[in-house]
Amino acid sequence: MKLPHIIGLIIIAVAIGVLISTAGNASEYVTFKDAWELAEDGSSSKVHVVGKLKKDANGGIKGMFYNPAMDPNYFVFTMIDNNSEEREVIYYQPKPQDLDKTEQVVVIGKFRGKDFVADQILLKCPSKYQETEVKQK
């Protein structure tokens, strides 16, 4: 085999490796139910779950626990996914400062036991770009 052929083969091999690793590492947007089933099947991959916070009639948040004086790195909240399934989500970090204002939450993580353990919480806050009001004085 000539040298260019060997290099060509290496390139192809690496490129295929890249595609396989992208496919293998790509996450999925799923519901709690799917995430639960994945964990039951022994899958260790992390998933994205989209949902909302559980709120009472007045817009107050329900089912949230954060006591920094006891443990600043432990935060639990209740999330309702797009299938209206309710689950507790554990986050071993301080509570995200803007969580109360958020409209939509995306949690990235997986089930451990009966609770969903999140590595990351992405918040979708009402952004500046949807400004429709002009302040008047």
Binding site: P68, P72, N73, I90, V106, Y129, T132
Partner: protein, 866 residues
Amino acid sequence: MTHLAIGNWGHLFVIIAFFSALAAGVAYTWVTWSEKEGLDHNNSESWKRFSRLLFVIHGVAVFGIITCLYTIISNHYYEYHYAWSHSSNDLPWYYMISSFWEGQEGSFLLWIFWHVLFGFILIKVNKTWEAPVLAVFCMVQAFLLSMIIGVEIPGLDWRLGSSPFILLKDFMGDIPVYKSNPDFIPEDGTGLNLLLQNYWMVIHPPTLFLGFAATLVPFAYCIAGLATKKYKEWVRPALPWALFGIMILGTGILMGGYWAYETLNFGGYWNWDPVENAVYVPWLILVGAVHTMISYKNSNTALRASVILVITAFLLILYSTYLTRSGVLGNASVHSFTDLGLNNQLFIYLAAFALLSLVLVIIRWKHIPSNAKETSTYSREFWIFLGVTFLCLAAFQVIIPTSIPVFNAIIKEFGIDSNIAPPTDPVIFYSRWQIWFAMIIAILSGIGQYFWWKKGENGSVFKALKIPIMFSLLISALVILLTDLAEFDKEIVKDSDFAYKKISYILLWTAATFSVTANASIFIKLVRSNLALSGGAIAHMGIALMLIGIVFSSGYSSVMSRNISGMVLVRDAGEEFNRDNLLLWLNEPMALADYQVTYRGVKYEADGFPGYIDIYNVLHTDDPLKFISRKDIFHDGKKYFSEGDTLKIQPNNLYYEIEYKEADGSAFTLYPRVQANEAMEGKVASPDIKRFPGADLYTHISFVLDEEQKEWSEPKGIQAKTGDTLFLGDHVAIFRKITTPKGLPGVNVNVRDIFVRAEVEVLDKEKNHMLRPSLLIPMDGGEPAFLDDFSPDLGLNLALMNIDPNTGMFTFAERTTQKDFVILKAVQKPLINVLWIGTFVLVIGMVIAIIRRYKEFRKMRDKGVE
């Protein structure tokens, strides 16, 4: 008064610029064609002058647009949407510049502006290339201007572009204000995003767009070369521009990283965010292109590869523009431009140039000379080609996962809902690949340089390489043995195998050391003969130093705020989750690594004051930016403000004073910031960094108690006479005395008003605290005014409510709240300075290389060859 004229002028300039770009493009194409066909020389010369005139008109119009838009912003013409949504009254002039390009339209203008400037330079320096190169330029300019032209296409329900000169009234549509008052103009704008109010954000976007613009020049030369059948000649004039592009684009990317490091709180300079990736990839490809171009110039190999890489680099810039501005990334990125509905237009822009280049390359492919000679392992071209191959593979590895949202969008067009998400942990995912590519490229850059300068055709080069190899192995082995390179912070091995990481970091360190040594030895040899040739060696050294900085600052960063003493609520969390955040009570020292840290309270920054002011030492006024001092304010013994002075403060910025004490008694203070960002309706934490020569100590706040979230006890009434002992909360206090100050900061006191201040001393463990609530009873029978006093240390608020003149009995109201605290994360980042030093070295090397290559071009041009 609505300033309609300036906007109309602006819009007119946009239209002139658009059509003059089209016209100049057509005219230059005609000149190109007539020159190529060898038509009447005088005729084509006069056409060329005409095209040039059109391009100058285009340039002047572009300056006109910029002047109009900047005038609108800097004069606060809030009747215009752009000024209203991107600036505000209190913005200093240098941030007005940032306002200019905060919006999509302004950043397009910036890009257009650099193209005009480059166009002028190219007209000036070229003899034979002007017409075809400028023809490509004009095409690009027409596409870019169409993005900001903002014209409704009659008959089609479609708007071409988004104008920066749109009035707020037209943008907002039918909101009630305009019904009652059609001439309504807001008094203030909504301001510039606070995160962007940073000096790096003033220069980062212009630098990045300068780099974007620089990729157009080699592309234009290449297309011009293919079109006019000058297959080889385009390389020489394009080379200095390609080098310039690498330097500027690279600097721009790093400035962005540096801004992120200083301002955002993810704890680093690079997050493998889609937008970062989208510029990193074209940069890699452009670096590859420069290498194949140099290889072609010296030995006539790799011309076809150069054509492909130069074109790809430019198309990838367009692709990154599409990714960031079309809204396709959605929430996947921290950089989010407003979605202006330019999706289709951006796609057409990308597709048009992709198609044009593809067709041209296919038609001309068999005419592009290629060197079929078998490359020998001992030829320098072989090593360069190998390096370029790995650069391309590295780029490929990044662009594929980054494009996942695009794949989703494409599949959706076919009616399939895809639920693929990007990798959950991009830093781990990308690093795992890129670290090996970086290692191979570092080694190849060392070997390649040796082959390049030795001109070796046999084993002698490898013999010469023995010395740098042995030397670098020795150094890296010593460092590995003598330091704790083999010991790792647990964070980075959280969900990966320990040994794998350990080996890959150690190998990259060794490879980078080899690259530095090999390139340094080449550099030393070159300095003796000709410094002008040393650009490559210096630039490669810079890259290798950057890699060393990256290995240490990222691979060996360690969390110092690990929570070891705090109570752990759940024991079954396991080792996998680190408890990286530490809670600090106000004024209570805590151990953090080798330091003793203390949270000293919340502060403001005030104009004209070098330090920070406790927020409880100033009073609000009706003007949100004006405050009144409650006491004399000193810094380093010098008095800056007296009681009652007015201070200018940006109250959205809160600084949390964190005192670090070392075991030897030396101390320093950090002020990590939390911004109440109205625009984002949230809080944004920015770190503060203590820079030591060997490492940065990076501290950011991860949680604070909101003023509104604080829970207060019900007010409790207390009656006392002067000299009495009281119980306030859990503390014993003494009502010392009553004073009658002449005035009260922020309140107009009439001579006949009753105005008293109580002084209550609260006894505490370390020191006693004096609370001074005041009461003002106006003689005219108006409402009494209370000025209560709060001690953050005690979490105690005291108000003076009433005085009974008959009994001498004073009534106080006491309220308590929880004691203040912050939660912070502190990280140590070793050798991060090597990364910044490496960047400077890289830039120096690039400058030397650009000068050399430009001189080569000028020499050949003056000979009449080009």
